[in-house]
């Protein structure tokens, strides 16, 4: 249910950003990572360059690499199944898989969640894209405001730790400073660069506090 409604929001915002129904559906089929997809259409909507859109989307997808390293030993698959498992490696399937205690339940949890989310996400993305295309002026419906709210909802559960709050404040400052100075899309990458520096130089203890 949550995936379905989330998919409709993405499809509608993607249409508003100027992506065709085919392009929106392709993102959900091939890119298949909600946050990265929202980020890509967000940068496109803000007038960012293709390079900035790809870079933002890819940086946001980097966490899937960490998820892959966690679930691969639990799944123990080879060949084409490994490719399928890689494509289904996202927040939801990883969270469900690692929450199980029995190896069989871990594997079932990963595949059922991954395939279920994949089916729902693609179906509802398509619906959202068709609806978004039919709506007309996105501003009159407040859809431009919905994009900011969607990103806030995605980051909200990640703001509990003190280090995350500090980096969030840093990201706000860097973004506001860079918006007037750089082309659209670059401020977001600047915020990411600041976070990489913060993550590498900050002492470990600071990151542990408040977890």
């Amino acid at each position: 249910m949550a995936t379905g409604l989330y998919g409709i929001s993405f499809g509608a915002l993607s249409a508003v950003a100027g992506l065709s129904v085919g392009q929106t559906a392709t993102l959900s089929l091939l890119l298949f990572s909600g946050g990265s997809q929202f980020a890509l259409v967000g940068v496109v909507a803000a007038g960012g360059s293709p390079v900035a859109a790809v870079a933002t989307s890819t940086l946001l997808g980097a966490r899937n690499t960490l998820y892959g390293a966690v679930v691969a030993p639990l799944l123990g698959v080879r060949g084409w199944r490994r490719l399928a498992a890689a494509q289904l490696t996202i927040d939801e399937s990883t969270a469900v898989a690692v929450a199980q205690r029995e190896p069989a339940a871990t594997r079932a949890g990963f595949w059922v969640t991954g395939l279920g989310v994949f089916a729902l996400w693609n179906a509802f993305t398509l619906l959202g894209a068709l609806a978004g295309d039919a709506l007309g002026d996105p501003r009159a419906w407040g859809l431009d405001a919905a994009a900011g709210a969607a990103f806030l909802a995605l980051v909200w559960p990640r703001l509990a730790a003190r280090a995350a709050q500090v980096v969030a404040a840093l990201a706000v400052g860097v973004t506001i400073a860079l918006v007037p100075l750089t082309p659209p899309g670059v401020p977001v990458l600047g915020a990411a660069a600041a976070a990489i520096v913060a993550g590498l130089v900050a002492p470990s203890r600071a990151a542990e506090e408040g977890r």
Binding site: R63, G148, I176, T182, A192
Partner: protein, 106 residues
């Protein structure tokens, strides 16, 4: 962006996404299990999402701006503090901006 450029953007980003996922399945787990890698990854995710909130809400091209999107974001934050589900947050924000614009502001 033209349709061809948009398609290229979509396909390159999709390829990069899959490559990152597959890399996680192929590299030894201990390469990525270090505290520093995990921490930096989670902080980058936070920074990107927060920056996107700012860009989507407070900018118009290369100018900083305040319009109906700002109160809409405030409504979204209140809804999140009350643990509203994702879609309720998004719909409330859109309705706030749409309502304010219907009244002639922002």
């Amino acid at each position: 962006m033209s349709a061809a450029v948009l398609w290229a953007t979509v396909l390159v980003a999709s390829l990069a996404s899959f490559a990152l996922k597959l890399a996680g399945h192929l590299v030894p787990e201990h390469w990525l299990a270090t505290d520093r890698v995990q921490r930096t990854s989670s902080l980058v995710t936070v920074a990107l999402l927060v920056s996107l909130v700012v860009v989507q809400t407070f900018t118009d091209g290369q100018a900083l701006s305040v319009d109906a999107r700002v109160p809409a974001l405030a409504v979204a934050a209140v809804a999140l503090a009350w643990r509203a589900p994702f879609v309720v947050v998004v719909v409330l924000a859109a309705a706030t901006a749409a309502g304010l614009r219907a009244l002639g502001w922002g």
